[in-house]
């Protein structure tokens, strides 16, 4: 029963990795990384049951809570770059 869903998740991880490798923009790769994160959460919760050790769900919980910080960091990075370019341009003019 768990094998079907685990296999589906693994195949999807491979597809997401394909998107991460193909690009073409960096944001596609960030999207793929984020998808990879949610897929990992699902995979880990299912495997915890497959192993018969449901007390290991902490790991999936950790990813569910903090995986999106990476994407927020990307947004902040782009925002800083955009704002510093804007000030550079206004200083140059």
């Amino acid at each position: 029963m768990y094998f079907v869903v685990t296999t589906a998740t693994l195949v999807t991880m491979a597809l997401a990795l394909g998107r991460a490798l193909l690009g073409p923009t960096v944001y596609d790769r960030v999207l793929a990384a984020n998808m990879f994160g949610t897929k990992t959460v699902l995979l880990l919760s299912v495997i915890a049951f497959l192993y018969g050790r449901p007390d290991f769900l902490d790991l999936a919980l950790a990813y569910a809570l903090i995986n999106f910080i990476g994407v927020l960091a990307v947004l902040e990075f782009i925002r800083r770059r955009a704002s510093s370019e804007a000030t550079d341009n206004s200083v140059g003019q």
């Binding site: 999807t12 923009t25 984020n34 699902l42 809570l65 925002r79």
Partner: protein, 109 residues
């Protein structure tokens, strides 16, 4: 009763697996970034709900079920937020939704 629960959770897990897979195919095959975000995040949330509901049925009334519910809740909060932040970042960097890239495109490798 146990058999019924098993069948229900099997069905939920399988449908969830199908949703997750569709999301993956969508993210790979859609023509531009914003459609890909749409495909990935929409089926992501659906797949997560179904799969975790299926596993909760297996867990029964235990601490594991509460943890799974928490995982589902946090996933439903963070995953759309991440999609939103990603779309904002792309828009801020000048990637237009119609697919016309105006600037800051990644250079050819």
């Amino acid at each position: 009763m146990a058999l019924f629960l098993d069948i229900a959770s099997w069905a939920l897990l399988s449908i969830g697996g199908v949703f997750v897979f569709i999301g993956g195919v969508g993210a790979l095959r859609m023509p531009n970034l914003y459609t890909r975000i749409h495909a990935a995040s929409l089926t992501d949330t659906m797949g997560a709900v179904l799969i975790i509901a299926g596993v909760i049925l297996q867990a029964g009334a235990s601490l594991a079920a509460i943890k799974l519910a928490a995982i589902l809740l946090f996933l439903l909060l963070t995953s759309p937020t991440a999609s939103n932040a990603l779309a904002s970042a792309a828009l801020l960097a000048g990637l237009r939704p119609d697919g016309a890239v105006t600037s800051l495109e990644e250079p050819q490798e």
